[in-house]
């Protein structure tokens, strides 16, 4: 993330019905536009999504997408110098960007009549980025400080990074989005320029606008500035993604200055459109989301072994990722017991189907989270974008239908299929 002030927390949201009209248009150069007319919002959002993230990075170049994201704020041909945020803020807007393992997003939030500022700035930096050596060296220093802050000095993030690193031996998901320190130090300006040329193409991007806008007018304004940008001659190269079979459970033990020991269990799972990913979402609600979930009840309320426990799944990844169980354990000598109980709860689900009421609860949460996500134009746009990354935002409807069809048997089947030791990586953070 370029800036530090805004913390984005992604909740997996499932739409059941939409209350805003969504329009789509494709420009001649392959750039797709998606406009969400949200008449209730006083502020509009403009987002440019590039289909590039850590998943696309070559060996030795981890963190290059994120470093480029930082450099995107350092000036383009018609807006030279470090002026992007200054221009946005002087028009009463806010801007930022973030890079994930699968994509990179730039955004502004503006009063709807100010969206022309976004259009001018984003169209220029899509094709005319300046990339000076001096800015490059500065942003490298800033990114290394960011890495120290977020990982080196943060044991809770570090253990997650280590677990992901151990879970995958070949797949690029093993590398952190921010990159390894050694890679960040060695990346050259030429590497970044090539990365920009290869992936920042109109045919590898899409734009989402959400807010109180007129679709036809905004599409016309976007077309004017973005359509002249030439598309890249070939589509960006996609790497062959694979992860060899895992033999045996993997373990990482990390000692750091912290108070609470942490237990992280990560099972490799598939992503959408594999329907198992949706059953795993329902499972996550039953197992570890909320205080009525099975693991919270058992470990926090009944056994008092943990201060907190939760689960998370990433069905909307570009490739299969991990189902996480994360617990903060009260005492170091209780970690083993906690792990044993978690595994017992998992075994229980393999042998007995979940209750009907648990499935109904999960579906109620599906409905509610979709409705609440539409309270914010920005959040709504992010949600739509995450489906577009998978191929087409209209998959939302299929996803909704698939979610509502999940049965007790589906949930039991995915537990049996994926929750095996040969699919598991465990991380333990121990206070030093």
């Amino acid at each position: 993330m370029k800036k530090f002030a805004i913390v984005l927390f992604f909740v997996i949201l499932f739409p059941l019905m939409g209350f805003c009209e969504i329009k789509e248009e494709k420009l001649k150069n392959g750039l797709k536009l998606i406009v969400i007319e949200d008449k209730a919002s006083p502020m509009a959002t403009f987002q440019v999504w590039y289909k590039v993230g850590a998943i696309d990075e070559l060996e030795g170049k981890s963190g290059i997408s994120h470093l480029l994201e930082h450099l995107m704020f350092r000036g383009s041909k018609n807006y030279p110098g470090n002026v992007f945020s200054k221009i946005v803020q002087s028009h009463g807007g806010v801007d930022n960007a973030f890079t994930t393992k699968d994509y990179t997003v730039y955004y502004q939030k503006f009063a709807p009549q100010k969206l022309h500022v976004s259009i001018d700035l984003e169209s220029d930096r899509m094709v005319n980025l300046l990339l000076s050596q001096e800015d490059f060296e500065l942003e490298k220093k800033i990114v290394l400080e960011e890495r120290r802050q977020r990982y080196e000095d943060s044991p809770e993030s570090l253990i997650i990074e280590e677990v992901i690193g151990a879970a995958f031996k070949a797949h690029p998901y093993r590398k952190p989005v921010i990159g390894w320190t050694e890679d960040i130090e060695r990346i050259t300006l030429d590497d970044v320029a090539k990365h920009y040329q290869q992936y920042y193409c109109p045919n590898n991007a899409f734009i989402i606008v959400a807010g109180d806008v007129n679709s036809d007018e905004i599409i016309k304004s976007i077309r004017e500035k973005f359509e002249p940008i030439p598309s890249c001659q070939k589509n960006p190269e996609r790497r062959l993604l694979y992860e060899p079979k895992q033999y045996g459970e993997r373990r990482v033990i990390l000692k750091r200055q912290t108070h609470l020991p942490m237990l992280v269990m990560a099972y490799k799972v598939p992503a959408y459109p594999d329907k198992d990913s949706i059953s795993l979402e329902i499972l996550s609600t039953i197992l570890g989301e909320g205080k009525s979930s099975r693991l919270y009840r058992k470990l926090v309320r009944e056994k008092s072994l943990a201060v907190d426990i939760s689960t998370s799944n990433s069905p909307l990844s570009r490739d299969g990722f991990l189902f996480f169980i994360v617990a903060y354990i009260k005492e170091q000598d209780k970690i083993e017991e906690a792990e044993k109980i978690i595994k017992e709860e998992i075994e229980k689900l393999k042998n007995e189907k979940p209750e009907k009421k648990e499935i109904e609860k999960a579906k109620n949460q599906v409905e509610a989270s979709f409705l609440f996500s539409q309270d914010s134009a920005f959040g709504h746009a992010l949600f739509v974008g995450r489906f577009e990354i998978l191929g087409n935002w209209r998959m939302i409807n299929q996803y909704r239908e698939d979610s509502l069809k999940v049965t007790e048997d589906d949930v039991q089947r995915v537990v049996q299929k994926y929750f095996k030791n040969d699919n598991l990586t465990v991380g333990i953070l121990i206070p030093e």
């Binding site: 919002s41 006083p42 009463g92 802050q149 201060v307």
Partner: protein, 412 residues
């Protein structure tokens, strides 16, 4: 922003806005109770937390089950000046959600066993936070600035002091302060006026009770001859976390708006602020640097926080002090003033761009007495600020001689 105000006979104020764009409803209640009213630390925080741990007719488990099954949320927020609870529910589950919300508000029982469980979780969480550099630096800074005043301690309290806390302390705090007469409600969403009337009749109008006037005192700031340096040694860290600050401004102060503009230019304006420009953008010495102020009922703090690798610690502190001095000595430029105003006015709607934000905003505006026309008047308040005002507030508040600086890291 359109809303209606109802002043009920029992003292309750209700702000109501009808929005039917999405079938959801938010209800916020603001209770004027905070660490300012505590006889022991953690009272306000734990009282709010424990509301959902048992009522006369529901066990803690029942409540947890209902919240998750109905897919509602009840967020509890305790600030330096007040407590606020926000219910979020879909229209479909409105009736059950509202019944639950008023039950936890009016009939909590604070079971002993639940109290002990929550205390143990809080104890562990606080000890965990006591390992985090930003938390340590902030806590040491507030303590040095405010001394024993409630503004000088973390809202959640301190792990070492939890042993003095008993269930009765929570019950007493609830009995004293959770009375309807000073409560402010805000209700927004897909709920018609008729439905609102019904809700008021069933849950609020018949609720009686008076809370005592708040016995709150302004903080006494200790006069110092020179800067106070506090160093917390942590050999495991690669960065120093630096918090540098001093006495700030109260929300009721005439200079609040001039202070807001000044803070934006100094360190509140993201990457464009003077501090971010000089320390991050021009020299690459930090990823995060910002200034922030806490405009409470009484003067809160003002501080700058930055993280930089150990060897840059001294240099960065000097650069911060230099920027503060410059703000005191020289007027800001026309261009800076114009940009700051455009930003503060133009981005103001972001504070109320969702129903949830509006729900909380209306309660807070009422609590601080900012006026029903606050959102409409805000641009005018900001436009009025002049360069001279900014220099004057900089001279009045910015302290380069006897600030407090806390460093958590390997070396100074």
């Amino acid at each position: 922003m359109d809303f209606k105000t109802y002043n009920l006979e029992n003292g309750v104020k209700v702000k109501y806005t009808y929005r039917n764009s999405i079938p959801i409803v938010y209800i916020t209640v603001l209770i004027p109770a905070s660490p300012l009213d505590e006889s022991k630390p953690s009272q306000a925080y734990l009282t709010a937390q424990l509301l959902t741990h048992g009522t006369k007719s529901r066990s803690a488990k029942d409540i947890e089950d209902a919240i998750d099954f109905l897919a509602i949320s009840i967020e509890k927020k305790v600030t330096a000046d007040f407590t606020a609870l926000t219910l979020s529910t879909t229209k479909r589950h409105l009736k059950e959600a509202v019944a639950l919300f008023f039950d936890i508000l009016k009939n909590p029982t604070f079971p002993e066993e639940e109290f002990k469980k929550e205390l143990s979780i809080l104890d562990n969480s606080l000890r965990q936070m006591d390992k985090e550099p930003s938390y340590i630096a902030g806590k040491k800074f507030l303590k040095a600035l405010f001394g024993e005043h409630p503004y000088g301690r973390p809202i959640e309290g301190e792990a070492e002091l939890l042993k003095d806390l008993k269930r009765e302390d929570i019950v007493n705090f609830y009995e004293r302060f959770y009375k309807p007469d000073k409560m402010i409600f805000s209700i927004i969403g897909d709920l018609t006026e008729k439905e609102l009337e019904e809700l008021l009749e069933t849950h609020i109008k018949s609720w009686e009770g008076k809370s005592p006037d708040r016995a709150i005192f302004a903080p006494k700031f200790i006069k110092r001859e020179k800067p106070l340096e506090i160093f917390v040694k942590r050999d495991d860290l690669t960065q120093s976390t630096i918090v540098l600050g001093f006495e700030g401004i109260s929300r009721k102060d005439q200079d609040y708006y001039a202070f807001s503009v000044m803070n934006y230019l100094l360190g509140g304006g993201g990457l464009t602020s003077r501090l971010a420009r000089s320390i991050r953008e021009e020299q690459g010495l930090a990823y995060s640097i910002y200034s922030i102020f806490s405009p409470y009922l009484m003067p809160g703090d003002f501080h700058i926080e930055v993280k930089t690798k150990t060897e840059n610690t001294k240099k960065v502190i000097q650069m911060i002090v230099k920027e503060i001095e410059k703000m005191k000595k020289e007027e800001v430029t026309e261009e800076e003033l114009k940009e700051a105003k455009s930003f503060l006015i133009g981005s103001f709607p972001l504070r109320i761009d969702t129903m949830k934000k509006i729900s909380e905003f209306l309660c807070v505006v009422e609590f601080y007495g900012l006026g029903d026309d606050y959102a409409a008047k805000y641009p005018e308040y900001i436009e009025r600020v002049t360069k001279e005002d900014i220099k004057r507030v900089a001279e009045r508040f910015l302290n380069t001689d006897s600030y407090i600086v806390v460093v958590v890291g390997k070396n100074l």
